[in-house]
Symmetry: C2
Subunit: 344 residues, 2 copies
Amino acid sequence: MARRRPTSHDVAKLAGVSRTTVSLVLNDVPGVNISPETRQRVLEAARQLNYYPNAAARRLVSGQTHTIALVWHRGPDRTYRDAFLPGLLQGITRAARHYGYHVLFRPIDPDESDDCYVELARGRHTDGLILSGPRSDDTHLLDLHRDGFPLVLHGQLPGTDIPSVDIDNVRGAALAVEHLLKLGHRRIGMITNAPLIYTASRQRLEGYRQALTQAGIPYDEALVRYGNFDEESGQQAIEALLALDPPPTAVFVASDMVAMGAMRTLRDRGLRVPDDIAIVGFDDITAARFIVPALTTVRVPTFGLGWTAAERLIRLIHRDTLQETHVLLETELVVRESCGAAVP
Amino acid sequence: MARRRPTSHDVAKLAGVSRTTVSLVLNDVPGVNISPETRQRVLEAARQLNYYPNAAARRLVSGQTHTIALVWHRGPDRTYRDAFLPGLLQGITRAARHYGYHVLFRPIDPDESDDCYVELARGRHTDGLILSGPRSDDTHLLDLHRDGFPLVLHGQLPGTDIPSVDIDNVRGAALAVEHLLKLGHRRIGMITNAPLIYTASRQRLEGYRQALTQAGIPYDEALVRYGNFDEESGQQAIEALLALDPPPTAVFVASDMVAMGAMRTLRDRGLRVPDDIAIVGFDDITAARFIVPALTTVRVPTFGLGWTAAERLIRLIHRDTLQETHVLLETELVVRESCGAAVP
DNA sequence: ACGTGTTACTGACACGTGTTAGTCCGAGTA
DNA sequence: TACTCGGACTAACACGTGTCAGTAACACGT
C-alpha cells in the first residue's frame, strides 16, 4: 500500500501550528517573526515526515517554474551536434544551478515541425528558452519575443533585437589566417565549413578575407572551395585546391571535421603536412589533438557559450536589462603541428 | 502592459459553454458526448485566444509531470562525460518524445553532495529518474526505490533489484580479444580503461580472460597493466608492456582514450602499428576513425542505451512490469587498421 | 401516464502551495 | 485607565486545471 506523500498540512498538524507558519518557516520568509521554539518544532516535524514541497503546486501559485530549456535543432552539422553539446550543456547547467534553475533539454528532430517548442513557452513549462540554431523564417519566435517571453539565441539572427550569444567567427578565422601569414605563407587557400547559406560559413570566409586584405594580399576566389560539414567534402575540396597551378602552400579549413578529410587525402597523395602544405582548422574537436600531425585549430568556448546564454536568459527572466543585446565570444588559436610552427 | 494569459475560463466564456466542456473537448476525453457544433465552437475559441493550458495546474491536479530526468555524475571519465553524452541524450529524448515526456538534464558536479537529485524525485519535479553512474553507498537511492519511485540505472549496481541498463562489457572485451586471436596472436597484452574499483574495468578484464581461456591460453598477470581514463596512463602502461621479454604482439586497450596514449608512444618509439604490434581499443570515440592507423575498436551503442533506459523508465512510470530487471546491450566490433586485419 | 435510458452539458470539489489581511495578546506609554 | 504598538500566529483566498456526480431535456416502450 503506497502511503500518501506528506503535505505542508501534515507538517503543520504534527508541529501544532498553522500551514501558513510552516510555509513561512520553511521558506525563511524575511520580515516575519516566528519564535525560535516554533521554528524548531516546524523544522523537526518536516524532517521527521521527510517532507518535500510539491513542485507543481509551487509553480502554480508562484507562476514561476524555475526551469529553462535548451531547444536544440538537429541540423546537418555533426560537429555542432556532437562535439559542442557536452560543453554547451555543462555551461548552461552550471549557470542554471548557480541561480537555482533546472534545465530542460529539447532537441528538435528533422521530422518535427519547427514550432514544436512554442508549447514549452506558452504552456509555461519553462520560464525562458535558449534556442540553438534559429531560423530567420520562424515567425513563432518573433511572436514569443514580442509578447515579452524571455529568449536567448545561440547563434545569430540578423535584423532582430532578440538577445543572442555566439562566437566571433570573423575574428576566429582571421586569427587562423594571420597565424599562417606570420609563418610566411602568401598563397593561402580556404575550405569553408559549409555552404554560404549558413551565417557561420559566410563569417569565417569574411575573416579569411579580412586577414588577407590586412596583409596586402588580394582576395582570389580561385583559392576558395566549399566544404559541407563532413570529411568527404574536405577530400573533394582539397583536391580541387591541389589542382591549381601553383597550389597553395597553406590552407585554412573552417571546420576540423572537413579538415580530417583534407588531411586524409594529403596523406594518401604522399604530401606531408606541414612541410608540403600547412593546415589550420576550426572548432578544436577531440580528434584534432590525436591525429598526426596534430591539428592547429581555433577553439570554440563551448562552456562559455552555455554559461553566458543561460546567465543572460535568467537575467531576462528577472526582468533585468542587458547592457548589450548581442554578445560575441572570443575564440582561441590552439597551435599544434599541422601549421608548421616550431613545437618545443 | 502585459496582458494576462488566457485560461480555460476565458475560452469557456468566449465559446458560451462551461469550463468543464472546454476541458472535455480539448483533451478529447473518450466516452463523453459533445455535439459537433459545440466542439467546433470551443476549438475555435481556443484558437482565437491562442490558448495553451497551464502546465503547472495540470501537473498539480493530475499528479503527473510527464517529465523524466537524466542524473549525470561527472566522474573522472572524460570519454564517458563527453563522447557518450550526445548519443545517450538523443536516445533518451527520442524515447521520451515518443511517449509524450520531457527530459530534464541534471549533471552532478564533483563539489555537489551525492543526494542532490533526491529533491527532484521527492518534490515531484519528475515522474522518474535515469541515474548514470550509480554509487553502491548511495542509501537515498535505495530509499527511493523502496518507496516505489520509478528508477532506471545506467550502469550496474550489483546486489540490487533496481532496473538497470548497461553494455555487455565482458562480451565486448571478448569480441576484441577473439578478433586478435583469430589473426594469429598468442601473446596478447591488455591495458584496462581504469582501476579495478570500477565495475566496467573489472568486466572488460574478465572478457579478456575468458577469451584467452577459451582459446586455451593461460592468463598471465604480467601482461596486464592498468589505465586511468586518460592518454598519459596509456603511455605509461604500454611502456611497461614493451619492457617485457618478449613483449606482446598485440594489446587490447579497454579504452580508446587510453589507446590514444599508447599509440602515440608506439609511434614515438618508431614501432609500427599493426606490423610490430597490433592494437584494439574500446568505446569507438570520434578520434578512432581519424588517427593513423585507424583504430579497430568496440562500439558502444549510446543511442540504444539511452532509448532503452528511457523506455523502461516510462514503462515503470505506467506501472507496467518489466520482463527482466537488468538489461545488457550488445557491443559491436569495428574493424579498422590498427589490428592488422586486411582492409579492402 | 409513467418509468427508463440517452444525450449534452454543468456545478462544485480537489490538487498543495504562497501570501495578504487580519486577530489576539501582552508590554509599553501618556 | 485607555490607547498604541509590535510580536506571534492564522483564516481565507488565489493559482488553473481535471473530473465526478448530477441535471435538464427529450425519446421511447408499455
